[in-house]
């Protein structure tokens, strides 16, 4: 075959494995072929297809920064290696056959990668403006990639508001990271848990209950939304009430994906193939579909 086969994967090696919680882990990866590693670049919000040998492929968002060296001391105290080679990270929650198998892999094990795929966050459009990151759920990798990106280029962006909600206070990952982020200038970190507890110092209730405290300039902000559709719906309602434009509200959609090439048909959302037209959409692009259940 003379043309490149878009279905083919490349081998990647696990350089580091970080246990984030009993059900969430991060794999730090490097392609084993140096030429593949050298040419690999991606944008925040894009994803890879990750293949567990003999089991299958799943789409996983890339959580690290495009330019991130293996040790990003400034933003991530958990990173260990001091080698300055560019690597890429996937934070994965155990939900199915493939992710359960991936969780059992160890440093030095190999898996298959193809990507990156999809349209990422419009971070160029956000330059010079405030950014509001609203996340519901566990280790929401697509939005964490945005926080990493802005932290590394802090002067390019205005105020950063981070609103992170989880169901149970035990689910909150990366305490240290959020605390570090909160220390950064011009940065507000607001956390919430639907179920708090005696030692939970932040808001108890849904993440959308944080709006009263949030620093949001409706006309000079770009919103990055990630989480369950129900939570995003409520957040969008608040944001529109604040006077935000639908074109300034961006969200990451999830649908079944098997090919990531816009061919297998599973990720269709109205006219969109989420794998290539998304996964990041502006609310303006999908607002006619977003309120309809079961599309």
């Amino acid at each position: 075959m003379t043309i490149t086969n878009p279905h083919l994967l490349a081998e990647a090696e696990i350089v580091e494995r970080i246990e984030e919680s009993p059900t969430i882990f991060t794999l730090r990866l490097r392609f084993t072929a140096p030429e593949r590693q050298m040419t690999y670049c991606f944008e925040p919000g894009q994803f890879n297809m990750v293949y567990l040998f003999g089991v299958g492929e799943i789409p996983i968002s890339i959580v690290s920064d495009p330019s991130e060296a293996a040790c990003d001391v400034a933003t991530d105290a958990t990173a260990g290696s001091s080698d300055h080679e560019t690597l890429f990270d996937h934070t994965i929650r155990i939900v199915g056959r493939v992710s359960r198998g991936l969780a059992r892999l160890r440093v030095g094990d190999t898996l298959g990668i193809r990507g990156p795929y999809g349209r990422g966050w419009p971070l160029d459009m956000a330059r010079g403006r405030d950014v509001v990151v609203i996340t519901g759920g566990l280790g929401c990798a697509p939005s964490v990639s945005v926080i990493h990106y802005i932290m590394k280029r802090r002067a390019d962006y205005g105020h950063l508001t981070i609103m992170q909600g989880v169901k149970h206070f035990n689910d909150m990952l990366w305490h240290a990271r959020y605390e570090q982020w909160a220390q950064q200038p011009d940065t507000q970190v607001l956390l919430s848990a639907d179920t708090g507890g005696p030692i939970w110092p932040w808001h108890t209730g849904p993440v959308t209950g944080l709006f009263e405290q949030a620093h949001i300039q409706p006309h000079n902000s770009l919103v990055v939304l990630c989480g369950p559709e129900g939570m995003m719906k409520v957040a969008i309602k608040h944001l529109l009430q604040l006077g935000m434009a639908a074109t300034d509200i961006w969200l990451s959609m999830e649908r079944n994906m098997q090919c990531a090439l816009g061919q297998c048909g599973h990720c269709q959302y109205g006219p969109h193939f989420v794998c290539k037209d998304g996964p990041v959409f502006s609310y303006a692009e999908i607002q006619d579909l977003f309120d309809v259940r079961g599309l």
Binding site: M1, I3, N5, P6, H7, L8, L9, A10, E11, T32, Y51, F53, G54, V55, G56, E57, R93, V95, G96, G108, D109, T110, L111, G112, E254, R255, N256, Q258, C259, L261, G262, Q263, C264, G265, H266, Q268, G270, P271, F273, K276, D288, V292, G294, L295
Partner: protein, 372 residues
């Protein structure tokens, strides 16, 4: 219908007794020939060694949920509308290996699968099949990441269409604009009469075949008769898709009560998507050897009527039959316009015929879009 230009039917005439010469010419030029046969009571496409294998004298009776072939004393070989499948499975295989992976001593390697199809001529394609081929081409080839497997087969394909004089009761290609006369995209097109075929070439490869055939000059009476048959074939079609903006109407009717109504009848079996010549969904899976050293990654046709089609970690987005039928119809007649600039339906009627409960989507669309 552009039947005024009857010259598009060709100035050549191939007498019935000379039909074997067409097959011979194709074989002489190195083509594997595929054409219609009667098997298990339906018209199927398979390897053709002789024109005696063609379904001579057969006509088809189709109704929603019903397909019967009848043998008549007609000398014609193409006096039927269609069978459950034609071109799609020849290009987009129902199951095919995409790559193989091996894990030996902890190292993973990936190996491409090559498709080595020789030149293949398909005889007896319907205008609806050609229209559907263009839709599949748009999906699999006219994209940033063209599918190498589809492409390898597509490049080897010679298309010999036969204009459709015998549409079934389930056909509505005239209203979708895809038949009963073939429009471009063929190498040769035949129009069948009792005593033979009007023949026209649509490509240089088709012209090369023509030069090898014992042709007569077509007479005006033959043109006239063929033109009349095709006009009648268009007029005979009772079912139709409205020419109004169905896309807008469907998306304005996502909460229509009819979705619940059709969900009561639909079995969510996926027959419609299997026989649909434009449906392209597929799923991917692995077959791994017992020693866990080799794995074959394959794709197979999938359907938006399955539970797994919209599954994401613990939830099914298209949870019930209502949502699945709505996805099928709003995609085929709605979002297909956004994706590929036209409707995804070519009016072949297969989804009506092969629906076990006889759901007629022309009727569903009419009801759902009626309020708009």
């Amino acid at each position: 219908m552009e039947l005024e230009q009857t010259q598009s039917l060709g100035s050549n005439f191939l007498a019935r007794e000379q039909l074997p010469a067409l097959l011979q010419a194709l074989m002489d030029q190195g083509y594997r020939c595929i054409g219609p046969h009667v098997r298990d009571g339906v018209v199927v496409f398979d390897d053709l060694q002789s024109t005696t294998q063609l379904p001579q004298g057969f006509i088809d009776k189709q109704q929603p949920g019903n397909y019967r072939l009848e043998l008549t004393d007609s000398p014609r070989c193409f006096a039927w509308a269609n069978g459950p499948q034609a071109l799609k499975p020849l290009l987009f295989k129902a199951r095919e290996t995409l790559w193989r992976a091996s894990r030996i001593d902890g190292r993973l390697t990936f190996e491409e699968v090559s498709v080595n199809t020789g030149p293949t001529a398909v005889i007896g394609l319907r205008p609806c099949d050609l229209a559907a081929l263009k839709l599949q081409d748009a999906h699999f080839l006219e994209t940033e990441a063209p599918d190498p497997y589809y492409r390898a087969r597509r490049e080897q394909l010679l298309l010999i269409a036969v204009n459709c004089s015998f549409p079934a009761a389930t056909c509505f290609c005239h209203s979708t604009g895809d038949g009963p006369v073939a429009k471009g995209a063929y190498d040769l097109v035949l129009t069948e009469l009792d005593d033979g075929y009007l023949v026209a070439a649509g490509s240089d490869r088709g012209k090369t075949i023509l030069t090898a055939l014992p042709l007569d000059e077509a007479r005006p009476a033959q043109h006239q008769a063929a033109g009349q048959e095709l006009r009648d074939a268009a007029e005979r079609q009772q079912r139709r898709i409205s020419s109004q903006d169905i896309r807008a109407s469907l998306f304005a009717s996502l909460d229509h009560a009819r979705w619940d109504d059709v969900a009561q009848r639909c079995l969510s079996c996926g027959n419609c998507t299997s026989v649909c010549p434009s449906c392209f969904c597929y799923s991917e899976a692995d077959d791994t050897t017992l020693d866990v050293q080799h794995s074959e990654h394959y794709r197979q046709w999938d359907s938006c009527f399955t539970h797994g089609h919209s599954y994401i970690h613990g939830q099914v987005v298209h949870a019930g039959t209502r949502e699945r039928y709505r996805q099928w119809l709003t995609h085929k007649f709605g979002s297909w316009y956004d994706q590929y600039g036209r409707s995804g339906c070519v009016g072949c009627g297969r989804c009506l015929t092969w629906c076990p409960v006889g759901i007629d989507l022309t009727e569903e669309i009419e009801v759902i879009c009626d309020d708009h």
